[in-house]
Amino acid sequence: MTAPPLLQLRDLSVDFSTDMGIVHAVDRVSFDIGTDEIVALVGESGSGKSVIAQAIMGLLGVGGAGRNARTSGQLRFRGRDGAAIDLLTLDAEERRRLRGRDIGMVFQEPMTALNPVLTVGEQIAELLRVHAGLTRAQAAAEAVARLAEVGIAAPAERAKSYPHQMSGGMRQRVLIAIAMACQPLLLIADEPTTALDVTVQAQILELMRTLKRRTRMSVLFITHDFGIVAELADRVVVLYAGRMVEEGSATDIFASPRHPYTEGLLGAVPRLDLASDTIGAVAILPGTAPDPLAFPAGCRFHPRCTHARPGLCDGKAPAMTALAGARRFACHVRASA
């Protein structure tokens, strides 16, 4: 990888203050997303992966539950002019202009992520008017072209449809068209296929691969499904309870996972023909995800870890151990082995 990375996360932390106390949802996470690279961010629900996505998007500060969020660290982003800026130092207006234009996002729930009272054409067109300054007519025509691009048949008619007239797979294509409308440098996909059935899942993944090849954008793909990771990702970052536990190329991680948690997850990979991802994952890993209000001391995984050593793993948090080939992992036991 010769080009400098598109996005560098450095010690990214996100705390939420809630009625019950402070939740350290993301704790000093650092990794890079290279140009033209697909990075998979893997973890169970509650591991902080969606929070990282929202932090990159700059959506934590606005409305909803994010009101009480505090973000620290650095998000160094190389824009279209090649200069790196820390996203966290930008003001709200500057971040808004990056959203949708340089960073696009596809969400998990195609059934609810589209506005029910606007035509899908308009939902794409408004974005082009805002970011690219197109006129109403230009934007409408462009929206039809974008729909065609994501493989929607009869795009001119479909542009006039409302979301409730479309299937889940089609809506997800529309959401991808929205995220890709301004040809962003980075696409964040937050479990975009979880809510879809298996055949549609495969189609959507194929579409994303095609689009990625054509546009050479970078992708941050969030999932808890190692089956998808294997199909799609160049590199993998594994999260557990808000902390990074392992990072490496997809090939390396699949060949020799270092962290016991990664091992557990890999053991839980669903076969595509079974495709009941969560059930598998729960069955293999003993115990349940920890309470975010009271994460265990030391290595947060130690209560569920079969290799855990008392006095070592419950003491202080494990540091990252670096290996050759840009591999890193955080485990007391494996680091000393």
């Binding site: 909803g64 949708g100 609810t112 992520a113 029910p116």
Partner: protein, 306 residues
């Protein structure tokens, strides 16, 4: 869709008919108009002559059938007390009532919607809490109390506004406030709740992720969705609005249709009473139709399935 409309239309006609029938019978059970008009008593002959003049000597079913025939020809009869066509009585009084209704509706929309939006968008600031407080008080204070409080302050204490009558625009200020306060509060409370619900929905997050300016996220994506159920509430509140206007007209001595209507109940002036009920029931039906139609305009999900 046509079948749906036809079915709804048929039900509405049936409802209006039933309401009329109930009123027709109940009014006749409750007493004869001439007992109230001439409270020093009538002789048997005088009573019989009057009954005959207005056709009240015939059996009720016969009266009802001929009344139906009459109104089918557009003739709503004459007032027994005033011996003038019913329609004229109402026509003379409809002006102030309509003006009051229109002003109250305008006030409701012009104040209620911004108040609800403020309460939702600024819910963590003093402004939002204040907006909600205003809405809450408006919601829990009954028409008659508000009217009394307003009169006490603005007519008696400050001497700024006239407390009775409907001659000038000044006369409409307190009645409008009285009548619309509850509605404003209801709309504001409801819109706030809807907005908070909509703001946490996925499509609003999508709109933000698209980098749309916040004004567009709120104005275009959130508000439109939040307004849809508010329309239903406006429709549901209509009956209450009419009852409220009866009270407002009484308190402020307004010469509106409410006064004529209440008078007709007290005097058992059957034709006037019946016309009032028909007009009210028809208005409810029309309002419901309008609400449905408006719903279809703003919510594409209803358009096809309806």
């Amino acid at each position: 869709m046509l079948r749906y409309l036809a079915g709804k239309g048929f039900r509405s006609v049936l409802t209006v008919f039933a309401v009329l029938l109930i009123t027709f019978v109940a009014a006749r059970i409750s007493g004869n108009p001439f007992q109230f008009l001439y409270d020093d008593g009538l002789t048997q002959e005088e009573q019989a002559a009057l009954d005959q003049e207005f056709g009240l000597d015939r059996p009720w079913p016969a009266q009802f059938v001929s009344y139906l025939g009459q109104i089918a020809r557009g003739n709503f009869g004459r007032s027994i007390a005033q011996r003038r066509p019913v329609v004229h009585l109402y026509a003379e009084a409809i002006g102030p009532t309509l003006r009051l209704a229109a002003l109250s509706f305008l006030a409701t929309v012009a104040i209620g919607l911004p108040l609800g939006l403020t309460a939702a968008l600024a819910r963590h600031s003093a402004l939002g809490v204040a907006a909600m407080g205003v809405a809450f008080v408006g919601y829990a204070v009954p028409h008659f109390l508000l009217a009394i409080i307003l009169i006490l302050i603005f007519s008696f204490y400050l001497n700024w506004l006239p407390s009775i009558g409907s001659e000038t625009w000044w006369h409409f200020i307190m009645p409008t406030i009285t009548l619309s306060a509850g509605l404003i509060a209801a709309i504001a409370r409801y819109l706030r709740g809807e907005m908070l619900g909509v703001l946490s929905q996925d499509f609003v997050r999508t709109a933000r992720a698209k980098g749309l300016p916040e004004s567009m996220v709120i104005g275009k994506h959130a508000v439109r969705n939040a307004l849809i159920p508010v329309i239903t509430v406006l429709g549901l509140k209509f009956n209450g609005l009419v009852s409220g206007s009866l009270i407002v007209e009484t308190v402020f001595s307004f010469q509106g249709v409410g006064q004529i209507f209440i008078g007709s109940v007290q005097l058992r002036d059957y034709p006037v009473l019946q016309f009032g009920v028909i007009a009210f029931a028809l208005t409810v039906v029309v309002v419901n139709f309008l609400v449905d139609a408006l719903y279809a305009v703003v919510d594409p999900r209803v358009r096809r399935s309806g």
